[in-house]
């Protein structure tokens, strides 16, 4: 069974044409992998479809803007995957 990270890494690799081996858990999707916000919409779409969820991008963006939170807290891949797992768990609860 693939882990959330493995699935997300494959999605990023296919969507953004980034070699899979360059996509590691400590990488920030934006600052390390060079993904822009438009590309991330395609990634969010693929994540939503793959996991049957709706990742709350709007809410995360608001939290980033309002709380001056660090982008790393949301878009470092290990933390992104934890957040995705949280959304999956909330859906299944």
């Amino acid at each position: 069974m693939t882990t959330t990270f493995e699935a997300v890494a494959e999605i990023i690799s296919e969507t953004s044409d980034i070699p899979l081996e360059e996509i590691t858990p400590e990488k920030n999707a934006f600052t390390d992998l060079g993904i822009d916000s438009l590309d991330f919409l395609d990634i969010a779409f693929a994540i939503d479809k793959h996991f049957g969820i709706k990742i709350p991008l709007e809410q995360w963006t608001e939290e980033l803007n309002e709380n001056n939170a660090l982008v790393d807290e949301y878009f470092v891949l290990s933390k992104l995957c934890t957040r995705i797992d949280d959304v999956i768990a909330a859906k299944d609860a």
Partner: protein, 153 residues
């Protein structure tokens, strides 16, 4: 259609915001300043304006779905295919359906046909954002009421 004013949709004939579908009608005018350049002596509706037409149909469906509380802005066009020429006087059926309702974005699949022939189709992505001002929201509501018998909010 008033091509030079980007008023592409003439009438919303069917709208189901809950299921994310719309069918609209657009009549290509016989004359337009656009045809003076595209092309001199052989007027054709530019492909970019056909994409705009599909985007506007998608946009009105999304606006209705969002109850005009937020605005969809076209962000990405993929797989657009222009299958045949569109000349002055053509009557177009514009269909769009919601492919994915994301958080802060939406994807639609749209197509235009005329006389039963598919003219073009495309996948479109929209960013869903707050209206930049009340003037735009008011203008979108006005335009929707002009072309649609369906409730806006």
């Amino acid at each position: 259609m008033l091509l030079e004013y980007f008023q592409m949709i003439d009438n919303v004939e069917e709208l189901d915001p809950d299921n994310g579908t719309i069918l609209a009608r657009a009549e290509v005018p016989m004359e337009s300043p656009v045809f003076e350049g595209h092309f001199p002596g052989s007027p054709l509706v530019p492909g970019v304006l056909l994409i705009e037409t599909m985007a506007q149909a998608s946009g009105f469906m999304l606006l209705s779905r969002l109850k005009f509380e937020k605005m969809p802005f076209l962000a990405n066009v993929t797989g657009a295919k222009m299958r045949t020429f569109v000349e002055p006087g053509a009557v177009l059926q514009v269909k769009a359906e919601l492919e994915h309702d994301g958080s802060g974005f939406a994807k639609t699949r749209a197509e235009i046909s005329s006389d039963g022939r598919k003219i073009c189709d495309s996948n479109l992505t929209f960013r869903i954002m707050p209206f930049p001002n009340e003037t735009l929201r008011g203008n979108m509501l006005d335009r929707f009421s002009q072309i649609s018998r369906f409730p806006a909010e």
